[in-house]
Subunit: 189 residues, 2 copies
């Protein structure tokens, strides 16, 4: 094996979009790969304090977190390039549509396939930097990503995967196994 | 859009293996999907306090975190089924090979393609449950997953993706885009 030094090389990483309202009701969306589920009803966002998003979170105590899909990869990527601190029309440039969540004081971007609507539980500096913990109040899915059981079929999400090593985006391929299934061959039962 | 209620539905999630030594030098490995990078040199593990892994972490203050690949999917899945609290041979049943890390007091499972070697920085109860923060001291990669630039080629990892909705494992498909690239069309520059 080769030693590569210190790098944040976990794979896969998600491509997540954090959407918030500013003090003027303005929609801001930023792109984040370092974060996700931290409890059965909670998510963790590892974002710097100087983001527009953080300013908005302090004000509204709410956000939505959406999964980026292949069809909106350029828009999702832009949300990681432009800064809401510098641009007044960062969101509007994409032509995407935001509507107010019925569950929290934050916008839902309708084009993304899967969105968690969250309230801020805690935010502040930690040993690993600025962190926001949100409680999931509802999950919203586009009708076309639902399977026959009425629940999300992840194959239909067309979710993209972030490659931290070379900044690539990958698609998700075929289903190859079943959790709490493939490993049973090592069990006594 | 359809409202689905409260669920931890972020996608993709990684399939990560946490490897530790017990007080007798015994290797334990557990499977985790809720966690990952939380800073450029840190990872967060969201695991319960009653795991064998947590007991070991309190003792050794070190762990390794590996990416599960398709070739070792059954082994990785087993590490999420069996408990080191109940089984004395949980790791040995898989036939995998553990060697001591040169960087931290924890085992490296040689068969996994990519491993982060970490020291515990902080562990304890938080607003979102028990959490462990680790500092990355080194990243190790199998030689066969390196690209021509000597760095990790994520396509060669054959990493698997966890589907929280239906407990499926998926493979990663083709590269479809470039971060800080595809979104530039919305920039002024």
């Amino acid at each position: 094996m080769k030693n590569l030094g210190v790098h944040p090389y976990v794979f896969p990483m998600p491509v997540l979009l954090i959407a918030t309202y500013g003090k003027d009701g303005k929609v801001d969306v930023m792109n984040m790969a370092w974060g996700g589920v931290c409890a059965s009803d909670m998510v963790a966002l590892n974002i710097d304090e100087d983001h527009k998003t953080t300013e908005n979170l302090k004000l509204t105590k709410a956000f939505t977190l959406s999964v980026a899909d292949r069809e909106h990869m350029a828009e999702a990527d832009w949300f990681g390039i432009g800064s809401g601190n510098d641009l007044d029309d960062k969101f509007e440039r994409t032509g995407l549509t935001a509507v107010r969540s019925e569950f929290v004081n934050a916008p839902v971007v309708e084009e993304f396939p899967l969105t968690l609507e969250c309230e801020v539980v805690e935010m502040g500096e930690t040993v690993s930097g600025y962190k926001v913990i949100g409680r999931i109040k509802n999950v919203k899915a586009r009708e076309d990503v639902l399977g026959e059981d009425g629940n999300v079929d992840v194959a239909k999400l067309h979710a993209i995967v972030f490659d931290q090593v070379h900044n690539g985006y990958y698609e998700v391929g075929a289903k190859v196994g079943q959790a709490w299934g493939d490993g049973l061959k090592y069990s006594d039962k």
